[in-house]
Symmetry: C2
Subunit: 196 residues, 2 copies
Amino acid sequence: MSLRYAILALLAVQPMTGYDLRRRFASSVGHVWHAPDSQIYPELKKMEHAGLLSSTSVVRGEHGSKRWYRITDDGTAEFRRWMNEPVVYRRVRDPAHLKASYLEWAEPDAARAMFRAHIEHFTGELEQWLQQAREIDGGASEMLSSRLEVTPANRRARTIAFKKHTYAGLIARAEQEISWAREGLALVDALDDAED
Amino acid sequence: MSLRYAILALLAVQPMTGYDLRRRFASSVGHVWHAPDSQIYPELKKMEHAGLLSSTSVVRGEHGSKRWYRITDDGTAEFRRWMNEPVVYRRVRDPAHLKASYLEWAEPDAARAMFRAHIEHFTGELEQWLQQAREIDGGASEMLSSRLEVTPANRRARTIAFKKHTYAGLIARAEQEISWAREGLALVDALDDAED
DNA sequence: GAAAACATGTAACCGGTTACATGATTCT
DNA sequence: AGAATCATGTAACCGGTTACATGTTTTC
């Protein structure tokens, strides 16, 4: 149920509409926690019902309206409680490594395609994470800037440091996956040459 | 829906009961794909219904019985089809990194506890993967030995090589996570000393 | 005789996926 | 006028989790 806490984290910085949240899930937070809009809007309603958020309807243009969500004190307390609680780890469910461990069943070309797709997949992730890391370093991160505005001066260094550390970890992970897949490609070639 | 294919992979080696499969999911395959028994038994029934497996009831003791599942030709074909198909990647949903990126909200001791738990978590995984890798190298892997028995001689090198490569990747991943968490611990200490 | 291992499930629930559905506003 | 973006959902489905439930056989 981390979706709830990802939303609280975002709304702790500033009030937003569901649509704003949706965009954050498509970029910043989305790199560690994915959520489709079909999950975001209903969750916002549930959270308001639970007293973690409050909302106001704002007029937009002639006929339009939008709903502005803000975190309540209960919401902030709940987020802090979650932050001080241990992480709940998900069970392993790793389709790429599952398939990799039975690759002798695949055609050599399919095996190569699999590793190439793995490289592509993590190259994409890597680029996004590098981009985020660059934005943090350069002070160009919109989200982080807003966060720093509402962060007391003596906590800003922490905020930046933890963000950077997180992205460093994700970058290292992506690089590791890419080099593993490269080794895989070399392995397929070597086994093909051997024609054992 | 990889559970189905993990089951096919196991039954491609030898016929088994649901209980046998359950044990494999608690050890070997379980390291890349988790499944509880409440999922295994119903899935076996569905797979039999779909013609991928066939089963026979075997008498066990005086009153007991057990169901022996074997892969059908359709099952083998379906597994091979899946193996030649691209991997479907899951969306990111990473509770540890989600929390890590907002650690300035946590108490320093809770932050330390989080990183220590991360180290413990991946140390546990690492040990199991190293154990598997050692068994493969030493020829002591029960599952791999059975697989090699039903593998034509000219395919055995492949089978071993892909298994080893998979575990090498998992080991590298675990090591990376551990060193990231160690850096996290050092970071918390440094920020605490700075008392900014 | 007791404990460990063998053996097989059901039920309620929930988080997440996919597809569908609609309309307003702003920018070019 | 048309495209892009803003804005908000519903519905059916399914994979996975947690808890419950029960009985047999083998080993010590």
